[in-house]
Amino acid sequence: MTNEPMIRAAGVCKRFGPAEVLRGVSLEVGRGEVIAVIGPSGSGKSTFLRCLIHLETVDRGRIEIEGETLVETDAAGRCRYAPESEIRRMRGRMGMVFQHFNLFPHFTVLRNVVEAPVVVRGGSREDILPKAEILLKKVGLWDKRDSYPSRLSGGQKQRVAIARALAMEPDIMLFDEPTSALDPELTGEVLRTMRGLAEERMTMIVVTHEMAFAREVASRVIFMDDGNLLEARPARELFAAPEHPRTRAFLESML
């Protein structure tokens, strides 16, 4: 196995109209790392995550996924994305979990999990079912396999969403505020599932407001503020002795 980073982002810039959301963000993520991205809302955390999986196009900068170039910027400042087929392949190495789950309401829990492997990979349902069973048992929802998402609690929905993403066998999992839409008493079950993934050495980037999770599970914590990545350090260090005054102010406000 090489030591090639799973994700390498360099100088990623993004603006929405007049608002500069990312002002040159660079980050390398190694295999098996769990990165927690923290920072005030509007700091560009989610946008950065969405750029990595190409839900947003960057204005400038370079992103590599497992050594393959998703986007690069030439000397003239023009962004060049890989051809669509390659983008789809790179995206296939990543799974994403959204704040609002984005489950398919017209499918049962089981079908939410098996649909993409069947339709996108062209696998047969019979081959995928055992795997879906393992995944749904892992997130503790095998007995809910025939329910529709509207019958589930927020925490259950999010665990289905995690199983759905894992069904595509990604190398990297991206979490965009996975517990922010949940009632406080439901965040625990989702965080436990994520912790389990981290223990299996899944490479993860988690945008979160759960400081305890960041402190205990993340190998590195990234602090973003106003489109800049201000600190990227091992969790223990960053929480014990934040270097940047903005980080310190943010952490104090979260306590």
Binding site: R91, M94, H100, F104, P105, A116, V120, Y148, S150
Partner: protein, 217 residues
């Protein structure tokens, strides 16, 4: 009562014409409407604008005028000039007209599906076509059943417009008998026929809605 049985064959013959126009129009205008809606929401500005213009034209002029135009005026147009017999002319007019209405219903349905569904599908690797077919359109169907039901019931009654091409639909058949026999009974029987047809449709759509009620959004 014996009189009703006497006029029944003529009315049933008219009903047969009405049903033919109804089913052929429905079978062709729903897919065409869906195709128009997909063009309308596509990111190709030119196609979207063109479709918008088409919908404006078809919804902005009377169906009867469109029928008369296709039957009487089309043959004299250069290049596309073609002479259609009455039945095909009526079908073409109905399909072109109803597709415009169905297109707007489909468009409203497609645009009501949130961005999260597209993004959820996209990160799982679905192509645009797969997203539409597997994720978006099945959810659209549930949402647009009530307006589609409305439009379909209107279509049953609009079929009576084909009398302008001298075709013997249910209503024209009834009117013929009324004028012959000086009795209003045929109108009442024809009304009962229309009510029965729309009753079947209403029932069918209610069943569909119940089928889609297994999930909530």
């Amino acid at each position: 009562m014996g009189y009703v049985f006497d006029i029944l064959p003529a009315l049933l013959q008219g009903t047969w014409v009405t049903l033919q126009v109804f089913f052929i129009t429905l079978a062709l205008s729903v897919p065409l409407g869906l195709a128009l809606a997909l063009l309308r929401v596509s990111r190709f500005r030119f196609l979207s604008g063109l479709t918008n213009g088409y919908i404006w034209l078809m919804r902005g002029t009377p169906l009867m005028l469109q029928m008369l135009f296709i039957y009487f005026a089309l043959p004299f147009l250069p290049v596309i000039g073609i002479r259609l017999p009455d039945f095909p002319a009526a079908i073409v007019a109905f399909v072109l007209n109803y597709a415009a209405y169905f297109a707007e219903i489909f468009r409203a349905g497609i645009q009501s599906i949130g961005r999260g569904q597209y993004e959820g599908a996209r990160v799982l690797g679905f192509s645009y076509a797969q997203t539409m077919r597997r994720i978006v359109l099945p959810q659209v169907v549930k949402r647009i059943l009530p307006p589609i039901s409305n439009e379909t019931i209107t279509l049953v009654k609009d079929t009576s417009l084909i009398y302008v091409l001298a075709m013997n639909d249910l209503l024209r058949a009834a009117r013929g008998i009324v004028q012959r026999d000086f009795s209003t009974t045929p109108f009442i029987v024809a009304g009962a026929f229309y009510l029965f047809m729309t009753l079947v449709l209403t029932w069918g759509f209610q069943r569909l809605e119940r089928r889609y009620a297994v999930y909530d959004e």
